[in-house]
């Protein structure tokens, strides 16, 4: 925030950064080669649905847009909409595990529809899930406002596998912009699409 904004107690809504999302497919390749983690094919976009009619309209548009995609071959399963315990809406897109490009395209379609509607500041994060042969779970979370990724590896009972997360950070450092500030790696327990 600038000096004047501080003086007048204004905080401007923060606009999301979308471009770095397209680094995901190459990161997925890295992740499989180095650690044996494969995409599960599901990914989700989390946003804060504002009250009021305009947003409800946009959300409907987005869903219709994604549903149209599903008619094409390889379009995957329909998009699910869930609301989590914190009041955030998650759009979960399910694809086959080898269709990470299509998944990222879907996620980006949601983002750009929301941003075009003027709802960019409402985007919280996007999440793409990975798993390995021993069924360990790892997901990459994209922070829209920072334009950075961080790994999130949930274990049972609200614990996270920090060793695995740090390993992933080291491996992906060249492909993705990783969040350097570890205090911003906030957990998303029970996130849909995890």
């Amino acid at each position: 925030m600038g000096f004047l904004d501080t003086l007048f107690g204004r905080s401007k809504p923060v606009q999301p950064k979308l471009d770095d999302l397209f680094g995901l497919p190459s990161a997925a390749v890295q992740l499989e080669a180095a650690m044996g983690f494969k995409p599960t094919g599901s990914g989700s976009v989390s946003f804060r649905a504002p009250e009021g009619r305009p947003f409800a309209d946009i959300q409907k548009e987005v869903l219709e847009l994604l549903a149209m995609d599903d008619d094409k071959p390889g379009g995957g399963l329909p998009v699910e909409v869930t609301k989590d315990g914190y009041g955030y809406t998650w759009l979960v897109s399910n694809h086959m595990s080898d269709e990470i490009d299509a998944l990222v395209t879907d996620l980006h379609a949601v983002n750009s529809a929301l941003v075009d509607g003027g709802f960019g500041p409402q985007l919280l994060c996007t999440l793409v899930a990975f798993t390995d042969d021993s069924h360990r779970r790892l997901s990459l979370v994209y922070l829209y406002k920072r334009g950075t990724f961080y790994p999130f590896a949930p274990l049972s009972g609200n614990n996270r596998d920090n060793a695995l997360e740090l390993q992933a950070k080291g491996i992906l450092g060249d492909d993705l912009r990783m969040e350097q500030d570890l205090t911003r790696w906030f957990p998303v327990w029970g996130a849909p699409g995890l």
Binding site: M1, D5, T6, L7, F8, G9, R10, S11, K12, P13, V14, Q15, R48, A49, P50, E51, G52, R53, P54, F55, D57, I58, G85, Y86, G87, Y88, V115, D116, G117, G118, F119, G120, P121, Q122, L124, C125, L143, K145, R146, N158, T183, R184, F186, P187, W189
Partner: protein, 324 residues
């Protein structure tokens, strides 16, 4: 690149805040000029108390700013909690900070039935957000309402309100100290003065008078500024969560709870009032008088502003990018 925002800034609020800060500055300049004038008129034997008041006042203000988080936590008897201890609370704060792209403050819980919350700290890296057990468990706030309260407090952090209010109070602190010093030196020092020191005998009462006037004016201006900062935090908080109605109902629940609270609790909480979500102390006396003195705007004013934001959010998207 056009940034897309759907909300017009509240120009009225900005203008009123500017005017208040300008007046505070004006009083400050006038005060300094007056003191210098008085000093040069008589030959400067009162200079020492002005200097002492400045050093003391400045020192106090700086110390209270620098240690604001520790002082406030100690005064409220609050304890910092880890994400393990309060996963839900941390979860809400995590998400709000990610939405607003700001550093996450430390999170603390204070004992006591009084439903309230405050945020303090000299900058975003050193800030702490504290909620009372009363707010968490005994007010019956829903998750969304609690989130509204936390978003309000995070806006205080983002707006650096602790810093702004400390700087604004500096003048009042110095003037208040001067009144006290001048008063005591008049009481105890009067007898020692020799007859050829006639000018100096006049200085002290003059400084006393000027300081008292400045103190009164700046006190009112600071309270006014504090009310504007609250409105600004309400506004930013509601825009962050996009859910003004939850904040409105939280305000109503918390204010309703305030009226039921026994006075002992209120007195204990009084020093922290300026940083609280809702004022814990109700001033007796006429409604208009208490409105001038209070640190927080009235519930009606806050609700009215939030309803306005609510209407903005519900407006059909003829131009979805809205007002820039």
């Amino acid at each position: 690149m056009a940034t897309q925002t759907r909300y017009a800034p509240d120009r009225g609020l900005t203008v009123r805040m500017t005017a208040t800060m300008f007046l505070l500055g004006l009083v400050f300049v006038a005060f300094v000029a007056l003191i210098i004038g008085i000093m040069s008129a008589a030959n400067a034997s009162g200079a020492s108390i002005v200097l002492v008041a400045l050093i003391f006042g400045g020192g106090t203000a700086f110390a209270s700013l620098f240690f604001s988080d520790k002082i406030a936590l100690a005064a409220a008897g609050a304890r910092e909690v880890s994400p393990k201890e309060a996963p839900e609370l941390h979860g809400i704060v995590d998400r709000l900070c990610a939405l607003a792209d700001m550093d996450k403050p430390r999170v603390a819980i204070a004992p006591g039935m009084m439903p309230n919350a405050f945020a303090t700290g000299r900058n975003s890296k050193n800030s702490v957000l504290c909620v009372t057990e009363g707010l968490l468990y005994h007010t019956g706030l829903t998750q969304e309402e609690l989130e509204g309260v936390l978003a309000h407090e995070l806006s205080h952090v983002a707006h650096k309100d602790v810093q702004v209010m400390t700087y604004a109070s500096l003048l009042a602190i110095v003037a208040g100290l001067l009144v006290r010093f001048a008063f005591y030196s008049e009481l105890f020092g009067g007898g020692r003065r020799s007859s050829n020191d006639g000018n100096a005998a006049l200085i002290i009462p003059l400084i006393l008078l000027a300081s008292a006037v400045v103190y009164a004016i700046s006190f009112l201006l600071i309270r006014l500024l504090s009310r504007y900062r609250e409105l600004a935090a309400d506004r930013s908080g509601a825009l962050l969560t996009q859910n003004p109605s939850a904040l409105m109902s939280a305000l109503q629940k918390v204010s309703g709870g305030m009226n039921r609270i026994p006075t002992q609790d209120l007195r204990a909480a009084e020093p922290l009032n300026a940083f609280y979500f809702a004022p814990a102390m109700k001033l007796s006396g006429g409604a208009s008088l208490s409105a001038v003195f209070s640190t927080h705007p009235s519930l009606e004013k806050r609700i009215e502003q939030l309803s306005k934001i609510q209407r903005e959010l519900g407006q059909p998207g003829a131009d979805p990018r809205g007002i820039r």
